[in-house]
């Protein structure tokens, strides 16, 4: 996690596009909290966030702190075109979270040639333009 200083380069990553149903997810990320949507009635997790639980149709959604642990379920390195907002081509990955849900994110701190499917990762945060933050993943500390 980077701490902005006077000399740190300005973040160039695109800020998340926040939809009404995902507002709490991104607001928590700004505070470096990784939360997920859990049904207030049946207790199941859903991602992406949505207004209704698909299992029991409850409208009672709870934003709960997630473990931040998961594995790399799929990954790629976008070489061409070079993705906007990145100095080096990032590792983009589908993360399988321990809570049984998946999300797209980045794996940071690992060279593309060292990437492995199913590698264990844990959450961290990176800054974006306009003073926001997004959850990313790094190899899980042993």
């Amino acid at each position: 996690m980077s701490t902005p200083t006077d000399t740190a380069p300005k973040p160039t990553r695109i800020a998340p596009i926040v939809t009404p149903d995902a507002k709490s997810f991104w607001a928590a990320a700004d505070e470096e909290r990784f939360v997920g949507q859990k049904c207030g009635d049946c207790g199941r997790f859903t991602f992406p966030p949505r207004p209704m639980c698909p299992h029991c149709h409850s409208l009672k959604r709870e934003e709960v702190e997630l473990s931040g642990y998961g594995t790399v379920h799929s990954w790629t390195v976008p070489r061409h075109p070079h993705p906007f907002g990145f100095r080096e081509a990032p590792v983009v990955a589908v993360i399988q979270l321990d809570e049984g849900i998946r999300m797209v994110s980045n794996v940071v701190g690992v060279a593309p040639e060292d990437m492995k499917m199913d590698m264990a990762v844990e959450v961290g945060f990176e800054p974006t333009m306009n003073n926001h933050k997004v959850p990313v993943f790094k190899p899980r500390a042993q």
Binding site: R13, I14, A15, P16, I17, T19, F47, P48, P54, H73, S74, W75, T76, V77, P78, R79, H80, P81, P83, F84, G85, F86, A89, P90, V92, A93, V94, I101, R102, M103, V104, S105, N106, P112, M117, T128, V134, V136
Partner: protein
């Protein structure tokens, strides 16, 4: 109009040239290909009474109807899901004719997708990712640098390739075969330009280590239109009728277009399995009843996954099936005989459906022998086109 069940057929197909810079408006492309489809069928464009296109087509129904002089439009609708749902246009046209609601349904898709904007580049606005286009969660990819269809497609294909030990070189056999078909198709952008497996392996990485340039469809300018009418009426028109034996759509739970990472098993395309199941149930056909297939080939892994979904080979056997030569003109399942979206042009899958029609008519440049049934699949939707 009566509301009894009416069999539907494709009576006309039309297209503009396929290029990288059409030099005219998308509406003009739409008008030209629509007129061509009507002339092919021998139907007066003024008699069109139904119009269907994609939600993301930029031309307006009224604008196109005004070009064609459509006298009395009875029905318009648009399909979400981009190219993955291309065959849903045929599905909806069939349903309209089946229900006796329309007599002449025009399907069109026209775009300057190379000269005016580019699907393959970083997006410059987020409009396409909002509601109504079937692209549920693309917004969640953008801050992470997954900004292009190839990046989304690679994340989809990677788990499949990893699980079954399919290398990028294995994918090359799909490209080489399709470029061989394109090489003998004068309408194809890559006419007379076949490639070798080495060319494929020497092409640059688009998504490392999964997709190279030659695994990706083209970006194209052009338009394609299809005219659907009743089978009875089609018999009296100019071309041999092509019966829509079946058509359907399938969007299983937690499936979405391209950023499709939330369903249970990423080594399969559940939407294609659903389409296959529904299509075979609807028609009573089985994989061995198909003499050819047109399979949506935005990226090569998706071809393999659809071959498996439709039961042409077992799970994880798609690459070996293709390597065996099965997709060649004398193979088990000649596929994308026009060169596909890789070799002919990327008109969002519409040009592949037109090739399905030509194969049934017996008028394709790379004609398969003794064709009775052709499968047309765009993943989330499909159709079986048959000799009447």
């Amino acid at each position: 109009m009566t509301r009894t069940f009416t069999e539907a057929a494709i009576a006309g197909i039309g297209a503009t040239e396929f290029s990288k810079e059409s030099g005219r408006s998308e509406l003009q492309l739409a008008a030209e290909c629509s007129l061509a489809a009507c002339e092919d069928a021998g139907v007066n464009p003024q008699d069109i009474d139904g119009m269907i296109t994609f939600t993301i087509d930029n031309s307006d129904e009224i604008g196109l109807a005004r070009c064609l002089g459509v006298k009395d439009l009875a029905y318009t609708t648009r399909i979400p899901g981009g190219g993955a749902a291309a065959a849903a246009t045929i599905y909806q046209a069939m349903a309209l004719v089946n229900a006796g609601l329309c007599k002449n349904v025009l399907i069109w898709r026209a775009m300057n997708e190379r000269s005016q904007y580019r699907f393959g580049q970083n997006p410059n606005n987020m409009q396409g990712y909002t509601g109504g286009h079937g692209t549920g969660s693309l917004l969640w990819c953008i801050p992470y640098g997954a900004m292009t269809p190839a990046s989304w497609g690679a994340l989809q294909g990677a788990r499949y390739m990893h699980t079954y030990g399919i290398s990028n070189r294995d994918l090359g056999y799909v490209s080489v075969q399709q470029r061989a078909y394109a090489a003998t198709n004068p309408k194809a952008w890559f006419y007379e330009r076949p490639i070798t497996l080495e060319d494929h392996q020497n092409s640059k990485w688009i998504q490392e280590p999964w997709l190279r340039l030659l695994d990706c469809c083209q970006e194209s300018d052009g338009g394609v239109a299809i005219l659907v009418t009743s089978l009875e009426r089609a018999r009296d028109l100019k071309q041999p009728p092509v019966k829509i034996a079946g058509a359907c759509q399938s969007i299983p739970y937690n499936v979405e277009v391209i950023s499709n990472y939330y369903h249970d098993d990423l080594t399969v395309m559940p939407e294609a399995w659903g389409t296959a199941k529904r299509l075979y149930a609807q028609t009573g056909f089985k994989p061995t009843d198909m003499q050819a297939a047109m399979i949506y080939d935005a990226f090569t892994p998706q071809v393999l996954m659809q071959l498996e979904a439709f039961g042409f080979c077992g799970k994880g056997e798609g690459a070996a099936f293709v390597k065996s030569g099965a997709l060649a003109i004398d193979g088990q399942l000649p596929t994308n005989t026009h060169g596909g979206l890789l070799g002919e042009a990327y008109i969002h899958g519409m040009n592949s459906m037109a090739e399905g029609v030509r194969q049934v008519r017996g008028s394709a440049v790379n004609q398969v022998k003794d064709v009775t049934n052709v499968l047309v699949s765009s993943g989330m939707a499909g159709a079986i086109l048959s000799k009447a």
